[in-house]
Amino acid sequence: MKGDAPPRAVQLEMYYYLRLTRALDERAQVLYKQGKVVGGLFSSLGQEAISIGSAFALEKGDYVGPMIRNSGTVLARGHTARDVMSNYLAKATSPTGGKDNSQHFGDIERTGVISCISMLGTLVPVMTGMALGARMKGEKRVAMTYVGDGASSTGDFYEGLNFAAVQRLPVVVIIENNGYAYSTPTSKQSLLRNLADKSKAFGIPGYAGDGNDVLEVHSITKRCVEDAREGKGPQLIEFKTLRMRGHATHDDASYYPPGLLDEWMKKDPIARFEKKLKPTKEEKAAVEERLKTTVDDAVDFAEKSPPPPGENALQGVFEDDSIIQFTPWWKRDA
């Protein structure tokens, strides 16, 4: 199940976005240690190929629901490094204006990215509904989302994919199997060796691939996206990878067996892709320059942005703000 590799110019863009994802991740780690990140920081280190390879398989106008480790997806779909950094710092200029943090943001109109919530698996039914709504409007859009090995155990995963299957909706679900849900190994989530076999429960195709090979991710996803768009119903893909950090920055992953990280370090998706792509000196220098400018600008922008005004906490619960805005008894003049 492999298609042609994308043209070199596209591959170079993929290379840039892989590097950008990692560079932002590394800078965010520093900001976290400086106490500047609001909330937890969930690293995508080692998993970048799944986000980038799959995001590049979508067409303009498609919808995608990223998880917290898919900052690569949102960047590749058109969100800026400023968006990512300012949301980590929960600043007024961030896409959520400080209402939410981390990778919880999106923009349906501009990028087709849907903001996730912390309850994993919820995006599977929601993306199914977006595909449903688009079909009702006569549009041929594909809706793609991700779950981890952990979230593939949720009821939402089953209910959403089953509904999508019954309705033959153009939905692509990627199981990003990174070996651990927080500290729980995949062997405690499921007896299946390949989580892609869960597709049999829905009567839909299921594929497994190497999550640390960006071109393999891209080609499998692209075929699935095309099949979904052609009316062949939802598609399930499992990409195997390893989370190269703990669940979040506070977690040292000491529960990993010895040698596991070393073993996967050799499969680093960026190093592997670089070997295949063999960028010229000039190409590499151009990428480095672009990275430095973009990342420095994003960090600078986020750090210099003001925090949101506290009063904004009372805005946007409903379309009509007056529903929750009134002066309590103890704040009124006697």
Binding site: Y63, P95, T96, K99, D100, H104, F105, G106, I108, I114, S115, I117, S118, M119, T122, V124, P125, V126, M127, T128, G129, M130, A131, L132, G133, A134, M136, K137, A143, G155, D156, Y158, E159, G160, N162, F163, V166, G316, V317, F318, E319, I323, I324, F326, P328, W329
Partner: protein, 322 residues
């Protein structure tokens, strides 16, 4: 002007909204050929087709999520729960996903959740619940509970047109029990507005849903007490102004609901009255509610569980004489 039952009024309201707006569609279990467990959607499939009368798998969390997604791309789904008790199966999707969406990232979720609600039908612990306060306590969703056919029709229309999630509660003991003349193509009734059903001076009685009818029955037995009866119609946002205005006039207030006692809306009303009209009060804010128990099956027990007409009369007399 057609005379409609409570059920027909809800059905008619949805029908008119679907005729007027192509983005409105229905989702739920058995709502197509069968017309829904209570037949609220009877005839819809033939008129609007299977795409707009979408039958779902038996998976509330899943189809609520799909409704949210469809709403994100411009649709206005109306989601039926076969019994409103089953909304518990979709609580995560409503409370965490839908209710926070506008706040988190500016995406409104124009979905109406509706279904048969409440007791007095001998339906037992899982087909009788009062779930309104689960959601009244969850910022980001409006909770509507009409007691008459014309209010039901006007309010279901308002819910469907609202750009935020709305929970529309249909008391099943009222479905075929009450009738009223309701004009065709009637306008929506604003959410968040209570209705003074009867004016009076001795005390204010506040209720909603099926209990409104028990309150009216009780008042029929007490010609000597002048009671101002208010139908909340909306549980969230509460019409604070209407409550306070009436209490300032009567100086006494009681709340009647079939929901259980702790955390029921009566407690919230008592708190509002305490803060806003303390100096006007001539007696305690009285609650006539169900006890903190699941809804029992046996009619003999459900009778004790639900506030009765006799309970309302007794409470009214005691408060009036205070």
């Amino acid at each position: 002007m057609p005379e409609l039952t409570f059920l027909q009024a809800i059905s008619r309201g949805m029908w008119e909204e679907m005729e007027a707006d192509k983005s409105v569609f229905l989702m739920g279990e058995d709502i197509g050929r069968y017309g829904g467990a209570f037949k609220v959607t009877e005839g819809f499939l033939d008129r609007f087709g299977p795409e707009r009368v979408l039958e779902t798998p038996l998976a509330e969390e899943g189809f609520v999520g799909a409704a949210i997604g469809a709403a994100y791309v411009g649709m206005r789904p109306v989601v039926e729960f076969q019994f409103i008790d089953f909304i518990a199966c979709a609580f995560d999707m409503i409370a965490n996903f839908a209710c926070t969406s506008r706040y988190r990232w500016g995406q409104g979720v124009p979905v109406t959740f509706r279904g048969p609600w409440g007791g007095a039908t001998k339906a037992g612990p899982f087909h009788s619940r009062n779930i309104e306060m689960w959601f009244a306590h969850t910022p980001g969703i409006k909770v509507v509970a009409p007691s008459t056919p014309s209010d039901a029709k006007g309010l279901i229309k308002a819910c469907i047109r609202d750009n935020d999630p709305c929970l529309f509660l249909e008391h099943k003991a009222l479905y075929r029990r009450i009738k009223e003349e309701v004009p065709d193509n009637s306008p929506p009734i604003p959410i968040g507005k209570a209705k003074v059903v009867r004016e009076g001076g001795d005390l204010t009685m506040i209720s909603y849903g099926y209990m409104m009818h028990r309150c009216l029955e009780a008042l029929g037995q007490m010609k000597d007490v002048s009671v101002e009866l208010i139908d909340l119609r909306t549980i969230y946002p509460l019409d604070r102004a209407a409550i306070v205005e009436s209490v300032k006039k009567t100086s006494k207030v009681m709340v009647v609901h079939e929901d259980t006692r702790t955390g029921g809306v009566a407690g919230e009303i008592a708190a509002i009255v305490n803060e806003e009209a303390f100096e006007y009060l001539d007696g305690p804010v009285v609650r006539v509610t169900a006890p903190d128990a699941p809804v029992p099956s046996a009619p003999s027990m459900e009778e004790v569980f639900l506030p009765s007409v006799a309970d309302i009369v007794q409470a009214t007399r005691k408060l009036a004489n205070y």
